[in-house]
Each structure stands twice: as C-alpha cells, then as structure tokens.
C-alpha cells in the first residue's frame, strides 16, 4: 500500500479540491452582489469543477479490479461508507453539471436553479462524509483518527480555495473583499492548520504499533516528503498572496499555476497517508 494507490491519491485530492471550489462559488452566487457579467462568467467557469469531478471518477475507477461492474458499488447505500461516498459523489457531480447545463441553455426558472444548487451543496457534504467515514476503519489505527477527515477538509480549503480564486479571477470579481481575498485568507489559515495536523500526526505515529508493524517505520520518508509537500503548498500560497494580497487582481494563468502547485503538494501528502496503511493485526 502507498504509492501503488495512486488512483485513490488522485481521486481524493481532485475531488476534495472540486468540493472546496464549489463551496466558494456557491457562496459567491448566493451572497449576491455580482454584476450580470460576473455572474454569467462565473457560472460558465464552474464547468471546470465538473470536469475535475469527471477526471477524479476516471481515476477512481482505475482503482477497481472490475470497473465494468462498478455500478455494484452503490448496492449498500446507507450501510457501507464507500457506497455512500460513490452515491453522494455521483449526485454531487451529476447535479452540479446538470445545473451548469440549465444555466448555459437557459433552462428552468431561477428558483429551480437555486433549488438544484442547494441540493448539490447537500450532496457535496454527503460526499465528504462518505469519503471520511470510509477511512475511519477501527481495524486501521493509522487512519482511524480525527486527523483524517480534518486533512480532507483542509485539502478542500487549500486546493479548492485556489481553484475558486482562479474562477473568481476568470469572472473578473475584484470585490467585495470576502470574494476577492476570502479564499486566500481561508487557505492560509488552512495551511497553518495542515502544518499542525502533520505535527500532531508525526507525534502520534510512534505510539501506534501491532506485534509486527510499527507505524513510524511504515513511511521512512515521512519527513522529506512532508517537507516537499509544504514547500509546494507555501510556494503556491506565496505566489497567490503576492498577486491578490495587495489588491491586484490574480491573473487566471497565475491562478492555474497556484492550483497545480497546491494539488501536487496535497497529492504528495495523500501518498504518505496511503503509505501509512496498517491494521491492528497481521497486515
């Protein structure tokens, strides 16, 4: 387990970034105050979120031994965390894309579109809940900790925030301040929290062991990989702050570059996470 779980590494990080971006975009649409032009550009740009979800699902199916039977994964909806994750994740992506089509083709009333927006938001939370509970297996002590769902939310706020800021730049949104600088502020706070989560995890690992596995020995490159991860994340944030912190507008190209750095950093962190797999017993 570890880097050979690359499909899940890509899936979880991309999906969480899509979620975080969607939260910010929904906030921008619901809070009002956007001009007609800004609103329509943002709505159009949100296609990027649904493309990300599509790509994420392609990677997730690469994890399956029999992807053609993938639909069986929803059979235990309500009972198995993975079924919940897949049902809510598909509903999130499906409804989000449906709403994008409604807006692009001018179908449905404004109320109907708001209704779909709220439903999509609810599904994004269900998706996050399913994804988090999947990893909280009582028999996997390195994953079964509140640090796991916390890390997922922080990825959404950091990477997803960068995606949102790029979409806001595309939509030429420079005010109000909550939209212009909100994502970068929240991502900065999330990055500090991510440092704390990593410190807490590295302090907890030596205490986790079975008769034959020692968590601290599972990822011998823990420190250099985390250092590389934070180097990339701080580089992304530094660039992003430099462009948007002083009231300058973020260029879309700079935003895309920040997104790439942040997602790469989070993928390295997720690779370490999968590398820490062990059970309370023989694996």
């Amino acid at each position: 387990m570890g880097w050979n779980e690359w499909p899940l590494m890509l899936f979880t990080v991309i999906a969480q970034c899509a979620m975080g971006a969607f939260w910010w975009c929904s906030f921008a649409l619901l809070a009002g105050g956007l001009s007609e032009d800004q609103r329509s550009r943002l709505e159009r740009g949100m296609l990027a979120i649904w493309v990300m979800m599509g790509v994420a699902f392609v990677f997730s199916s690469a994890h399956l031994g029999s992807p053609l039977r993938g639909i069986n994964a929803i059979l235990r909806f309500g009972q198995s965390p993975l079924s919940n994750e897949i049902v809510f994740g598909s509903a999130f992506a499906g409804l989000g894309f449906l709403r994008w089509l409604m807006v692009a083709r001018n179908i449905g009333s404004q109320q109907m579109r708001s209704g779909v927006l709220f439903l999509t938001l609810a599904c994004s939370l269900g998706f996050l809940w399913g994804m988090s509970t999947f990893y909280l297996m009582p028999t996997v002590p390195t994953w079964n900790t509140p640090l796991t769902p916390t890390a997922f939310v922080l990825t959404a706020l950091i990477g997803g925030g960068a995606v949102a800021a790029t979409l806001f730049a595309f939509a030429r949104i420079s005010e109000p301040a909550i939209l212009a600088t909100g994502p970068v502020r929240l991502a900065s706070a999330a990055l500090i929290a991510a440092v704390l989560v990593t410190l807490a995890q590295s302090a907890a690992l030596p205490a986790i062991s079975s008769s034959i596995k020692h968590a601290a020995e599972l990822s011998p490159d823990y420190a250099p990989l985390m250092a590389l991860r934070f180097l990339l994340l701080f580089a992304a944030l530094g660039l992003w702050l430099k462009r948007s912190g002083r009231g300058e507008t973020l260029a879309v190209s700079t935003g895309v570059f920040c997104v790439a750095l942040a997602m790469l950093g989070e993928m390295i962190g997720r690779g370490v996470f999968y590398g820490l797999f062990m059970t309370v017993g023989l694996l």
Binding site: M1, S66, R76, P81, F134, S210, S211, V280, L282, L283
Partner: protein
Amino acid sequence: MAKQYGFYIDSAKCTGCKTCQLACKDYKDLQVDVNFRRVYEYAGGSWQAEGNTWRNNVFAYYLSIACNHCADPACTKVCPSGAMHKRSEDGLVVVNEDVCIGCKSCAMACPYGAPQYDPRKGHMTKCDGCYERLANDLNPVCVDACPLRALEFGPIDELRAKYGALAAVAPLPDAKYTTPSIVIKPNPKARPAGDKTGFLANPKEVSHGVE
C-alpha cells in the same frame, strides 16, 4: 443462535510445514501470491550472558490462519456491493465473485489478511470454509491435509466446549475487533496478543497484494 462454523488451531503441535497452505492452494487452484491459508511465524527473544555461559529466552512458533469467519466481520461492513457476505446457514464469510468489483476495501479492513485480490480475476477471493465439501460431510481441505492433526473444523460452540475460548495470541489482533470464530491452543512459548517483543519471521511467505 444461528450455526457458526470455525477453526481450531493447535499452535502447540504446528511445525510450520505449510501442508495446509499448499493443499488449499492446490484445491482452490490459486496463483503464487494468493494464499487463502497462511502460516505466520512469530519469533523473538534474546541471549543473556550468565558468567561464562549464555542462556536464551528465544521463541518461535507458528499460527496457521485462513479466514476466521468472524462473528462481527470487518470485511462485510466496508463492502460496497454486498459481495462480501456472511452466510446465515453456517456463518461462513464468503465473497460472491460474480458481484465483487475488486475495490479491495475488505482487504484494507480485515486485520487477518483473509480477503485477497486476485489480479488475474479482477476481484477479491478468500477462504470459503470449503462449504461445498461441508455439504458432502467432508472437512475443509486444509484440515484433512494437516499431518500433525493440528487443525479442526466444526461448529464453534462445540470447539469452544472442547478446547476453550482463546481466540488471540501474538501476532493476532485482540479478538474484540472482529470476534473471530477460532479457538487457539497456544504454543508453550506463545506471547499474548498485543505483545511487542517479537517480529514476523516470514513476511515474504505471507505477503499479498494489498501491501
């Protein structure tokens, strides 16, 4: 209570010969890195100087483990398709290979390494307690193959009445996690579950796809 079958594992008798593992592999036609039954060798201890002589407290013993057909299985809980299920008639935990999508969640959750991914088939496979042999009043093939008669199979309440209730010694996890349907007769040198003084002496022999 519904019927629950289980294994009796005599770790005092077991010599680690792996006939059980090979008989299973042959009968189930498994490829090299899939082993429905695995023999774990747990070893440790040290030598201490005592004047001009050395005294040892070293230990090494074997545990032959397949699927424990747990009363509270971790694998079935995480299965998204229901392919991994517990049979109501005999308590055996079996994977329906026509439904399984090969997501490997069960292999992550099981602390005994029972569900194993078969890359040739594209889905999970595991010990099914040889239920088709049971229907013909035969033992699982591993049990009949053991030259030491260190394995038995039967209703777990009968095995417990005969041999006691011990279901965990190192390196097995505490029985509280999944309530395994096994009874172990410990080796005289056996260490309790949770012991940290030993190590797995044969990791390559028992490794499979998930790690």
